[in-house]
């Protein structure tokens, strides 16, 4: 009887990523990226954000197409609910970033993923944003992420992949560490 081992394929081109790391180690200025979004008020609490261009590898780049994201608030906030709330988009951003990391790290460690589902909850006391209690912060009191992962690996190996994806995640860093934000009016 012969056994064959199929190569691990999570759809991540790890070779290209490692090549990029090597190239950018030698040329750190090319590693300087700027990400952009524009946002236009539609009506009420409804707004529409667009992303297309960004800067990286020393020059202007752009997505294959423009992406748009509607954001609004649900009807219990007396809004018309034309889209996700901005804080839900933050959760989506965190989930997407971590999940991309899970796929990449698993690929790099030769772990075949069969399914990956992240479920996120962000607790929030809205007395903060409503200005009811100045001791309550506006943002999340905490974020809980739960992963259900079916992969050809031991539970410890899967946990290690998820831990490493947090270590290398941009959005995880954005959320867990302070960032200076400057807002100007033209």
């Amino acid at each position: 009887m012969t056994t064959t081992t199929s190569p691990v394929d999570n759809g991540v081109n790890v070779g290209a990523l490692l090549g990029a790391r090597e190239a950018l180690t030698a040329m750190p200025e090319a590693a300087q990226f700027t990400w952009r979004a524009t946002c236009e008020w539609v009506s009420g609490t409804h707004s529409r954000s667009r992303v297309e261009g960004f800067f990286g590898l020393g020059e202007e780049q752009s997505h294959k197409t423009e992406f748009t994201y509607d954001a609004d608030h649900p009807e219990i906030f007396a809004s018309e609910d034309h889209g996700a709330t901005p804080v839900e988009l933050v959760l989506a951003g965190l989930a997407s970033c971590l999940t991309a990391g899970v796929a990449s790290v698993a690929q790099n460690r030769d772990i075949q993923l069969n399914s990956v589902t992240a479920t996120l909850e962000g607790g929030m006391d809205i007395q903060g944003i409503l200005g009811i209690d100045p001791d309550v912060r506006n943002g999340f009191s905490g974020i809980r992420v739960r992963y259900d992962i079916d992969a050809d690996a031991t539970p410890e190996e899967i946990r290690a992949v998820v831990a490493q994806s947090q270590k290398r995640s941009a959005v995880y860093d954005v959320i867990t560490n302070p960032t200076n934000v400057t807002v100007e009016v033209n």
Binding site: P28, A160, A163, I175, T176, N177, P178
Partner: protein
Amino acid sequence: MRNSTVVLGAGHAGLAMSRCLTERSIDHVVLERGEVANSWKTERWDSLRLLTPNWMSRLPGYGYGGDEPDGYRTMPETISFLERYADGIAAPILTGTTVTSVRRTDDGYEVVTDRGTWHCQAVVIATGACNIPNVPAVAQAVPAGIDTLTPNEYRNPDRLAEGGVLVVGAAATGAQIAEEIHRSGRPVTLAVGEHIRVPRVYRGRDIKWWMDACGVLEERYDEVDNLVRVRNVPSLQLVGSDDRRNLDLNGLTGIGVKLVGRLAGIQNGKAQFSGSLPNQCAMSDLKMNRLLARIDEWATENSLDGQVEPPHRFEPTRVEAAPSLDVDLGGIRTILWATGYRPDYSWLDLPVLDRKGRIRHDGGVVESPGVYLLGMPFLRSRKSSLIDGAGDDARFLSAHLASYLDHAISRPGLAVRTA
């Protein structure tokens, strides 16, 4: 007789190299800014002991002859150990000699010191990895009235003001100092970033015994996935003590130390901490368990299972459900930066530094021919950072150096002081 090499630094690495050079009849001088074992004498805290057991500090031609092989040397014992070694190998040391410049000349290298200039064909840099304490940029935002210090300045808790202490960094240094300061009655907040948890004793044997036996310490620099990473990992959370106790975050929590995430900023009189503490602890536990699994596997393969205690695992690191994300610095009198060290190469006038100020080298062989580096983390293997690792590295590099001298233009009477 050749007379050709200058060794910089009379710590364990420089001494090991001196011994290897003497064995090869390579004439050399060891230049030392202070005295033998200078950093151990002047830059360590009182309670510090080596993290490795006595039997393990093996240097070329020198081992442990005492009756406490499993003990851990105090600083005075470490100093006298190195002094005895220096005497025993009759190392040609010039103490009190500070190097101010090393540069290339037409026929080799010029080493300028405050006590004259040497010309030589080969230079061994054994000035150590821990010359300058790293202090994060956020230190500039520390409010007036808070004392700040680095581990090379710290001696014991009694020298600190009464009141709360923020210890930044939880590798061996930060964890050890946090423990003794907290026990002195000064409540400690410990900012925890990446750290490496290991038990002091596992299955009845010192963790260093296992790491030595099962080959972890032998892992070579040219066989690891990410050399930059392994050269920058923090020191193992260990302490050398008579009772061989563990030093870990659970123990610190148990005595009342408050754990917070990595220090992320200081604003409006508050220190802000990263929300990454749960993951930092989870990663550390996973890494420890991988090491223990490797040890168990090796023990089974080598039929040790009946002879040592059975395998077991340690309680996962306990992290509060919602660790504090900020601390009011009004309650903090002292901040101690246990955030690592970096070498000082301000005197090195050779184009061998990378953009981060590190010497470019291949396992200790520096790009500039005839220049060698010794005594750095993962220089040639995982044990390169240990006293015990200096021997193998010095043996290899002295052989390389000898071969270099054989092929270099033969010039008599080098390593001559000219001023």
